[in-house]
């Protein structure tokens, strides 16, 4: 098994376990940080485009299976987020806090916008799940606050796999 695959598989397992534990412990109606979305953005911003979109797709499937969103919606959104971030990783220095905050803001905006559009287009039974303004603002805030931590963890994790895919890594 290649080092890169071990990196992806271990990160997938760690993200899944963390998300499951956090969802269990987070028992308030206030939005929680979207850890998996942030992790996909962090992996993509480090130039691992295939790992990022694969992690995003499978983590998204798990989120769809365990949550109220349409099955396949978050899977596609997270995969697309990983792909887009990976594509632009050469232009982004993801070690800078400002870049992390912008990525978190952009990723959240992308996630909320596409998820709402998918709900409006594909939902056949029941009303579409459209978040309130308060929830949207809370989501932005939580993601921006949590982004430095997630990017830092992914950077530590990436030390075990220094390879990059298709030369997408940022070169100052």
């Amino acid at each position: 098994m290649k080092r890169e695959e071990v990196f992806g598989a271990s990160l997938f397992a760690a993200g899944f376990i963390f998300q499951a534990a956090f969802s269990y412990l987070w028992r308030t109606s206030f939005p929680s940080p979207q850890w998996l979305l942030l992790a996909v953005l962090a992996v993509g911003a480090r130039g691992k485009i295939n790992t990022a979109q694969s992690l995003g797709f499978f983590w998204g499937l798990i989120l769809d299976a365990g949550g109220p969103s349409l099955f396949g919606a978050q899977a596609w959104i997270l995969a697309a987020a990983g792909y887009i971030t990976g594509r632009f990783s050469k232009e982004v220095d993801s070690d800078r806090p400002l870049a992390q905050a912008i990525l978190a803001l952009g990723g959240t905006l992308f996630h909320l916008t596409i998820l709402t559009q998918i709900e409006l287009f594909f939902r056949r039974s029941g009303p579409p799940l459209v978040p309130s303004i308060g929830a949207i603002l809370g989501q932005f805030a939580m993601n921006v606050l949590a982004a430095p931590l997630v990017f830092w963890i992914v950077r530590l994790w990436s030390r075990h796999d220094p390879s990059v895919e298709e030369d997408h890594v940022f070169r100052p």
Binding site: A21, Y24, L25, R27, I49, N50, Q53, S54, F57, D64, A65, G66, L70, F71, G72, A73, A75, W76, A79, A80, Y83, G86, I118, F122, R124, E165, E166
Partner: protein
């Protein structure tokens, strides 16, 4: 070509799969898969969940601990406030002693000054008194002189009339019950300074040919062992004839400013001294 553009093909694959899942209602399949997975994993999930439950209680326990700590601190603060006034008075007393020594006020050999904070006032026509936060437990006794510092001199404020465990009532020199042996500083003539109410003191029993005139300072004479001699009582405002030909009296303006006094000095008599 596929290797070169692998990421694009992978993204197209995921997009296609996503579209299929969204178009084909997979809710039933997902539900069956979810329940089956939960059933299979349940024996392994319970211990971590129990651990997480304990971990989840950590926050509430911590909040409770913080709350208890806050309550404890609040109670501790209340206890401290109880002693705060006493501590402040001790500080004022120490400061007063230091200031007295700095100002060069002559020490009073038979008295020990004790600083006290004013707690209340009674300034009705028939009763002019203050309550101070010093009492029997601090060594205060009835008839102890009470003074204040006016400039660099000690001015008589009054005399302890009643003593309680932690407080005392001080009858002001203007109180009608107050009578202090006094002398005019310039001429040496002596008389009795008696309270007249309405912030006035009169110096009675001056001879009819007295040389006293307005502006003369009147001090304690030191007779009777109650007040030390030389403490400023007030200034003569005018002379009056009370109705007899033998004596005249002087109306005094008291030196102590009763209205603005917040701290006083009780002159404790040295043990063995009696009024």
């Amino acid at each position: 070509m596929i290797r070169r553009h692998f990421s694009i093909f992978l993204f197209l694959l995921y997009s296609l799969l996503g579209l299929v899942f969204l178009s084909w209602s997979a809710d039933n399949v997902v539900r069956v898969l979810r329940y089956t997975t939960q059933y299979l994993l349940s024996p392994f999930v319970e211990p971590p969940l129990a651990a997480m439950e304990r971990l989840g209680d950590f926050g509430s326990n911590l909040a409770r601990l913080i709350d208890l700590d806050r309550t404890y601190r609040s109670l501790e603060r209340e206890g401290l406030i109880e002693n705060f006034d006493r501590l402040r008075c001790d500080a004022v007393e120490a400061e007063n002693r230091r200031l007295i020594s700095l100002l060069g006020v002559a020490p009073l050999p038979r008295f020990t000054p004790l600083a006290a904070r004013v707690w209340g006032r009674e300034t009705a026509e028939g009763l002019q008194s203050l309550t101070i936060r010093r009492g029997e437990r601090d060594g205060v006794r009835a008839a102890d002189p009470v003074v204040v510092l006016e400039g660099d001199r000690m001015a008589v404020l009054g005399q302890v009339a009643e003593v309680f465990p932690d407080t005392s009532r001080v009858a002001l020199v203007t109180d009608p019950s107050s009578a202090i042996s006094a002398a005019v500083l310039r001429t040496g003539e002596q008389g009795a300074a008696e309270g007249f109410g309405s912030s006035k003191v009169v110096l009675n029993y001056l001879f009819s040919d007295t040389q006293v005139k307005p502006g003369d300072e009147v001090v304690t004479a030191g007779l009777g062992n109650i007040f030390p001699s030389g403490l400023l009582l007030g200034t003569v405002e005018k002379l009056e004839n009370p109705g007899t030909e033998s004596f005249r009296r002087a109306v005094l303006k008291p030196a102590a400013r009763f209205g603005s006094t917040t701290e006083v000095l009780v002159l404790l008599r040295v043990r063995g001294e009696k009024p």
